[in-house]
Symmetry: C2
Subunit: 328 residues, 2 copies
C-alpha cells in the first residue's frame, strides 16, 4: 500500500517534496496545506487537493506522514509539536542549538498521541550528522571537521539585501582548499573561522548607490562577514539572474583518526555532497525518512526520532533480503 | 559497566581488535581464543588470559561479545553460527555472494539461543554498504559506483606468490582517476573492469628466475589480472620490506542522482576512505558494532543483524542527549 504524504507549506522545500514523491513509487501525495488562500495556489501535481492549514484536522486517517516545510525560526517550533498530536510528521528543523528543546517538545506530543515523529532531516543536520556520528564512533582518537559549500547561503544573501542601496544579492560560502588539504593530511589542525571558509558576494546595487560604502558595510558586518575573507562583485540584475539563479550547496565532513599499538596509523574518512539544488536534495532526504517513519509507526514505534535513531534499512523500499543480497 | 570482549582468532585482525579495545574506555578485553597452543601465543595486553578455542564454552556469562577474527573462506561459515549458540557475536564475513546464506545460518542459531549477532562488519561490506544504501534511498534516480584502492589486495598478492620463481610479492589495486572523474560528472558512465581499476605488482623473483615469463604469467592470469591493465615491477626483498610492508587500503562509494520537475538537477554523494591499515580500520568498525550488539542484547533484541539494521546511535558511547546536542 502506498504511503500517503501531506505537504504542509508550499515553498521551495514543499515543491522539492512534491517532485521527490514522484520519484518514489511507494508514495503518493495526498494533499498540500497552505496558509495562503488555497484557490491562489497552483501546484505541480494534477488532481491533488490544496487545502488551507485550518483543514488539516479533517485529514487525520487519510495521511500517513505529514511533511512540514516551514522555516526553523518561527514555523517549525510551533507546527511540529502541534501537528505531531494528530499525524506522524517529519521536519527539517535546522537551528542546531535549539534541537534538544525542539526534540523534547515534539517527543512529548508524539508519545502522548502515539504518533511517530522525525525531526531535523536533511543534510546538515541530517546526512552530515550521521557521518559525524559514524566516523567518531569508529575512530575515537580523531577529530571531525565540517566544511560547507560551495553553496548559496540564504541567510547571508538576505543580510546583504537589507543594506541601504542594495537591490539584490547572492552570497556563496566556499571552503578553503588549503584547509581541506590540511585536514586530510591527518595533522588535526586548529582552524579559525577565517581559515576554513571564504565568502563571495554578487551584488546588484541601486542606481547611484555608493558602491564602496556597500562593500565596506558587507565586509564589516559582524557574525555574517567580519570574521571571513569576503569578496564583493557588483553585477547587473541580468547577470545575477543569468549566472546566479540556482541554489547549489554541499560540503564535506572529514574525520581523521589514529589506530595501532602506538597510534602509528592514520585514517581519513571523507563524506562529500555536491548539490545542484539544496532544497531538492533536502526534500529527497526527508522523503526517504518519511518512508522510515511510516514503517516505524506500523511497527508500533512512537515518539520523536532523529536520523541518528533510524536503522538505515528503513529508508529503502527494498526488502531486507534484497538489501543484504545486493548492497551489503 | 564495561563491555567484556572476547577475541576469537589472533592474526592481523585480532591484533587490530586488541588495539581498538584500548581506544574505547567502555570496553575490556576478557580473553583471547586461539587454535594454536595458548602457551606459544604472546599477546599485547598484559594479564589477559589466552585460551584454546576448546575452552570457549567456559566463558559463557563472562564475555558480552565474542569477536570472530577468522577468514571468510572456511573459518567464519562454521564458527559464527556455532559461537552464536552461546555468545553474542560480531564477524567481518566478506564473501559478498554468500552473505544471504551466512545470514540465514547465523540468524537461526541466534534466534534459538536468544543471542545477538552482527555479521559482515568492516568497510566493504560495512561502511561502503551503508553508503550505498543511504545514497540509493535518497536519490533513487541515480547510480552507485564503488572503487577500491589504492590498497593492497591480499588475495592478488597471494596469487602472484604462487607463480613459479616468485619469492615474494605485493599487489596494489588502484582506481583510475579518469573513471572517478567521469562518475563525479553525473554522466552515469558504463565502465568496464579495465576502465575502473589498474593493478600494480611489486615482485621479488628467485635467483635466476625467468622474469619475462613471470610477468607474462601475472598479466595473463584469468580473473585476477587478465581483465586489468597490470604493471609489474621487479624489486629486491629489501625494497619490498622497506617500501611495501604496510597494509593500506581504502576506496570510494560515489552515487550520482537527479531531482527536480524535469530531473534537471544533479547531485553527487561521495564517501571516501583512505586507510593506513586495512585490518586496524576494519577492527575499529567491528568494535563499534560490538558496542551496538551489547546494547541491542541488553534491550532484548535477538537474532542476526547487519550494519544496515543498526540504529547509528547504538555505535556511540555518548548518551542520546549528548548526541543530539553535539552531533546532530
Amino acid at each position: 500500500m502506498s504511503i500517503r504524504i501531506g505537504i504542509y507549506g508550499y515553498g521551495n522545500l514543499g515543491r522539492g517534496i512534491e517532485n521527490a514523491i514522484r520519484q518514489n513509487s511507494d508514495m503518493t501525495l495526498a494533499a498540500v496545506f497552505t496558509r495562503r488562500d488555497p484557490a491562489t495556489l497552483s501546484i505541480g501535481s494534477a488532481g491533488v487537493p490544496v487545502c488551507h492549514v485550518s483543514e488539516a484536522e479533517q485529514w487525520v486517517g487519510k495521511i500517513d506522514v505529514m511533511i512540514l516545510c516551514g522555516g526553523s525560526a518561527t514555523d517549525l517550533p510551533e507546527q511540529t509539536p502541534a501537528l505531531a498530536k494528530q499525524f506522524c510528521v517529519v521536519d527539517s528543523f535546522d537551528t542546531h542549538a535549539r534541537i534538544p528543546e525542539h526534540f523534547a517538545k515534539v517527543n512529548a506530543s508524539a508519545i502522548k498521541a502515539e504518533t511517530t515523529a522525525l525531526i531535523s532531516a536533511g543534510w546538515d543536520p541530517g546526512m552530515f550528522s550521521l557521518n559525524r556520528l559514524y566516523a567518531g564512533a569508529i575512530l575515537p582518537d580523531g577529530k571531525t571537521y565540517t566544511f560547507w559549500g560551495k553553496g548559496v547561503s540564504q541567510g547571508h544573501s538576505d543580510a546583504i539585501r537589507r543594506i541601504e542601496g542594495v537591490k539584490n544579492a547572492k552570497q556563496y560560502t566556499i571552503p578553503v582548499e588549503a584547509a581541506l588539504d590540511a585536514v586530510r593530511s591527518g595533522s588535526c589542525p586548529e582552524l579559525t573561522t577565517r581559515q576554513k571558509h571564504t565568502r563571495e558576494c554578487f551584488v546588484v546595487a541601486k542606481e547611484d548607490a555608493d558602491l564602496s560604502r556597500i562593500e565596506r558595510e558587507i565586509k564589516e558586518m559582524p557574525n555574517y562577514f567580519a570574521d571571513y575573507d569576503t569578496t564583493v562583485h557588483f553585477i547587473t540584475e541580468e547577470e545575477l539572474i543569468r549566472d546566479h539563479s540556482g541554489i547549489p550547496h554541499g560540503g564535506f565532513v572529514i574525520h581523521t583518526g589514529k589506530t595501532g599499538k602506538d597510534l602509528e596509523h592514520n585514517h581519513v574518512i571523507e563524506y562529500r555532497l555536491k548539490l545542484d539544488s539544496n532544497p531538492e536534495f533536502t526534500a529527497s532526504v526527508i522523503v526517504a525518512y518519511a518512508r522510515a517513519v511510516a514503517r516505524m509507526h506500523a511497527e508500533g514505534i512512537c515518539g520523536c526520532k532523529t536520523v541518528l535513531d533510524v536503522p538505515p534499512a528503513y529508508l529503502s523500499p527494498m526488502s531486507h533480503e534484497e538489501l543484504i543480497a545486493s548492497l551489503l
